[in-house]
Symmetry: C2
Subunit: 154 residues, 2 copies
């Protein structure tokens, strides 16, 4: 389980754009330098962000990209969905090993575990805004979530 380059790049770009919010738009090339994103790749990512309505673009000299709304109103989840489609892909219906029906075998015993994981990841992504990323204190929220224990109860 991993963060793809697109997501990593996109979040870098979005945090940089957050810092520049309210100021002049930043050209793609400038963003590529600042965030160390491969030159031509950055455009592809920015296009996806624009199509998702997260950034606006302006052509011509002194053009570039800017956030379409304040950093506090953009979540990591929106960024991830913009570039990768889904935050957490559904398992059901895949890996059926040739079976016609969904073979989440044995009455779908494990399906709830994936669903909970999906909800956990999705919930996290939705709860984190760009503003929070910029402002947060890294020391906060370090404690392990106590509610997780419930799952391992006998």
């Amino acid at each position: 389980m991993r963060i793809t380059s697109s997501i990593e790049y996109a979040t870098r770009l979005m945090t940089t754009l957050s810092r520049a919010h309210g100021q002049a738009p930043l050209p793609a090339e400038r963003l590529a330098e600042t965030d160390n994103v491969p030159g031509d790749y950055v455009s592809q990512i920015l296009v996806k962000l624009r199509r998702a309505g997260l950034v606006t673009s302006h052509r011509g000299s002194s053009g570039g990209y800017a956030l379409s709304r304040p950093p506090a109103e953009i979540t990591l989840g929106q960024v991830v969905r913009a570039v990768d489609g889904d935050v957490f892909e559904d398992v059901c219906g895949k890996y059926d090993g040739g079976a016609k029906d969904c073979r989440h075998q044995s009455g779908c015993t494990i399906s709830p575990a994936w669903q909970k994981l999906g909800a956990l990841v999705t919930g996290y992504f939705e709860s984190v805004t760009l503003a929070a990323i910029l402002e947060q204190d890294p020391a906060r929220c370090a404690a392990p979530p106590a509610w997780l224990e419930k799952f391992s109860e006998r």
Copy 2:
């Protein structure tokens, strides 16, 4: 972000082996049928599970695979690590866009977000045992984790 086929298959196999715990070992072919895992692929996965010490194998007729310890002492995390190496891969040092140093740009602003996600996912995997998967009530633990809100505080 998704569950790979190896992980899905491995967890199916492990739940089936959990049900058979204490009984005669199950041959790979039998497991393949039961869990709808492609015939020759199942052996590869079982080998990894064995090398990780999660299952034992016995050759010869009436041989097969069995859990090496009770279902309550095996976590999803152990299964995932057995087949895929890591539960959550580190982002730092990757996607540096040609830069020599780790370019988690701008003083590693986003790195804490990935680390928290990693801790969340890892914590979940470690908290879930095979016994819990078999015994749990799907209705439980459905509530969204309240502590997540802390991250989005302004």
